[in-house]
């Protein structure tokens, strides 16, 4: 059993669909997303607000607020086990111990009335039966692992007494408290300054290598993706429009949206003030999606007849790169 488990990918998501019933209509936030994450691998999910990247993450954790949201179809296999078939109680056990999550805002994700050490201890106690002294020792060890200065003092401090970067370190400590197999990090460094972002990213990378954790890193910062990810999913209007290794995505992007995004980035190494290539218009309203390709309105390479009529199915190349565009097959 153990051997066959290791042959399966750590996480396999198939045709996931998540929708929200709102007064403005049915919002199809995630429209058939499939991907996999291997052990020790970092998969980046990039996209703009409303592209469905955070809803995908919350669906994996089964943390979609129901109602108004619900997972309509698809499967989420963690080492072969379908998380969507678990009872709420069983899912509770998976969260924290097998899948952990780090959120964007370290200011709101910690409890302001609880000591930092207690918050980490809570996460450990939920999934292990240890004595009080053992738990405290594990917490101090974790604080050392995430490089919090003077961990014994930090144990008794409250969130408002430490900086944003340190708070995010505590959050990462909580996430790694039970050695999760999969870490979902939703914009973990967006609220931080660049110098602190660099510290936190290198910390996550180190812990991930030590524990062979698979990581799903959600971000809108293509720079962060290029630096830390092995593979990338580019999301637009609830779908993965392109996926591949970082090299494939950054050096040979095939989807016009990916190409547009990369061209619109100001380059820090560039010497001249070249005019930026911008993508015109704005993302579509997910409650009123157009017929055909969701990127049609903004696409510089659209083919008039098919693109506005049919939705592209997606093509997989021999190299493993996938793209959802009529310019490349169906």
């Amino acid at each position: 059993m153990k051997a066959s488990r290791n042959l399966l990918p750590l996480l396999e998501v198939n045709s996931l669909q998540t929708e929200f019933k709102t007064q403005g209509g049915l919002v199809r936030a995630v429209r058939g997303v499939s991907f996999s994450v291997e052990r020790g691998e970092t998969v980046g999910v990039v996209g703009e607000s409303g592209s469905g990247k955070s809803v995908t993450a919350l669906s994996l954790m089964r943390l979609i607020p129901t109602p108004p949201g619900y997972i309509k179809a698809g499967s989420i296999l963690l080492e072969g086990q379908d998380l969507l078939s678990l009872s709420p109680r069983e899912m509770q056990k998976v969260r924290g111990s097998q899948i952990a999550m780090v959120f964007q805002d370290p200011f709101t994700s910690l409890n302001p009335t609880m000591k930092l050490g207690e918050q980490v201890a809570e996460a450990i106690r939920l999934h292990n039966s240890l004595s009080k002294a053992e738990v405290t020792e594990r917490v101090i060890n974790l604080f050392e692992a995430v490089r919090l200065p003077s961990p014994e003092i930090r144990y008794h401090q409250y969130p408002h007494e430490i900086s944003g970067g340190q708070r995010q370190r505590v959050m990462i400590g909580i996430a790694f408290a039970c050695n999760p197999k999969l870490l979902i990090a939703d914009e973990p460094t967006t609220a931080l300054d660049v110098t602190v972002q660099a510290q936190v990213l290198s910390l996550m990378k180190r812990l991930q290598t030590e524990h062979n954790t698979g990581t799903l890193l959600i971000t809108h910062d293509l720079g962060v993706v290029a630096e830390v990810c092995d593979r990338v999913l580019v999301m637009y209007a609830g779908q993965v429009v392109e996926s591949g290794t970082v090299q494939q995505i950054f050096q040979a992007p095939k989807h016009p949206y990916t190409q547009g995004l990369l061209a619109s980035l100001p380059q820090i190494q560039a010497d001249s003030r070249q005019r930026l290539v911008s993508i015109p218009g704005q993302p579509p309203d997910l409650a009123h999606l157009p017929k055909g390709c969701a990127f049609y309105e903004r696409c510089p390479k659209r083919i008039l007849d098919i693109c506005s009529q049919k939705e592209p199915e997606g093509t997989t190349f021999d190299t493993g790169q996938t793209v959802r565009c009529f310019l490349h097959g169906s």
């Binding site: 703009e48 607000s49 200065p149 900086s163 970067g165 340190q166 300054d193 660049v194 110098t195 602190v196 972002q197 660099a198 510290q199 990213l201 290198s202 809108h220 910062d221 293509l222 720079g223 962060v224 993706v225 290029a226 630096e227 830390v228 970082v246 090299q247 950054f250 050096q251 547009g260 995004l261 990369l262 619109s264 980035l265 100001p266 380059q267 820090i268 190494q269 560039a270 010497d271 003030r273 005019r275 930026l276 290539v277 911008s278 993508i279 015109p280 704005q282 993302p283 903004r298």
Partner: protein
């Protein structure tokens, strides 16, 4: 080139009261602690730094949205920091501001047309309702929006469109200088390039100068002619954009640049990782402010405050060891 705006020794301190049990402790936040700046006609000066370095306070103090604690601000040779009443009002039509959050910066109960022409009304630059409406349509076209948007409300627009509305309002009085306080950091990536291009077009067409306040270094690199790097209320390095990004001399600038993730997987670089966080602006380290995190720090840095020196032509650095 004559300077449009000249700032000398600008300081802004805030007095705060902290509760420690039952005792109230009075403290001073040194948000801006002696800043010299100059902006020429049609020039973009970037001010970069991490949160809490005082970059936004500099912008607001120049506009007199905050009263400076110390220092002088010269606007075309005229003292701006001591102006009052009508004279100050009059000069404000020459300086505009665009804020970071396009959702908070527009009054939700006003029509877009009224929002963008309100400065014209306040400065009595329009005489009739028809003229104001005409002007609104013209401004909307200038920023790339449809003229009929004048009769809609802000909530009907996306972030990028709202930022265009904010820019339309800022340029309504034909200002010579715009303070842009993180104008694109709240926008989606595919929208950012649109707004940056609009700002560049406006500068080419109207010769407006920009004070561009931002934390995103690649954006600053792209849009600014000259750049000032701030740390804990002071400028630590200032140079032309190409010089600063090409050969940074201050260890803080070097660390800041090396911390920026580059959107190219081939350039996975070795980082100069800074330890720790920015110290509190209440208790500023003695000597060099950066010494608590500086990889080069020595004894001398704790005693002597490094002054901003011109090491190369137009390249100013505040570090004892910048030559090495």
């Amino acid at each position: 080139m004559t300077a449009l705006l000249k700032v000398k020794g600008l300081k802004k301190h805030f007095r705060v009261v902290r509760q420690n049990g039952f005792r109230a402790i009075r403290e001073t936040v040194h948000a801006v602690d002696g800043v010299d700046l100059e902006i020429g006609m049609g020039e973009t000066l970037g001010v970069v730094g991490e949160s809490g370095c005082g970059k936004s306070t500099v912008g607001r103090t120049i506009l007199r949205l905050l009263e400076p604690t110390e220092g002088t601000v010269l606007w075309q040779g005229e003292r701006l920091d001591t102006l009052r009443g009508e004279a100050l009002r009059h000069i404000r039509r020459d300086i505009g501001i665009v804020f970071q959050d396009p959702f908070a910066a527009l009054d939700p109960r006003m029509l877009v047309g009224d929002i963008i022409t309100e400065p014209l009304k306040a400065h009595k630059m329009v005489t009739s309702r028809t003229e104001r409406q005409e002007k609104a349509r013209e401004l909307l076209t200038t920023v790339g929006l449809r003229p009929e948007f004048a009769s809609r409300y802000p909530h009907e627009f996306s972030g990028g469109q709202r930022q265009r509305i904010g820019i339309a309002r800022a340029i309504s009085t034909n200002p010579k200088l715009l303070v842009l306080d993180e104008p694109i950091s709240a926008l989606d990536i595919s929208i950012r390039a649109q707004i940056l291009n609009l700002l560049e077009d406006l500068q080419t067409e109207r010769g407006i100068s920009y004070l561009f306040i931002a934390h995103d270094l690649s954006v600053v690199r792209h849009i600014c002619h000259r750049v000032a790097v701030m740390y804990l209320g002071v400028i630590v390095e200032q140079a032309s954009s190409d010089t600063l990004f090409g050969s940074p001399l201050h260890p803080y600038t070097q660390a800041l640049l090396s911390a920026v993730p580059v959107a190219d997987p081939v350039i996975r670089k070795e980082r100069v990782l800074l330890e720790g966080d920015v110290p509190s602006p209440v208790h500023i380290p003695s000597g060099c402010r950066f010494r608590t995190r500086c990889p080069l720090a020595q004894e001398r840095c704790a005693q002597e405050t490094p002054l901003l020196r011109e090491l190369d032509s137009e390249h100013w650095v505040a570090c004892h060891f910048a030559e090495k």
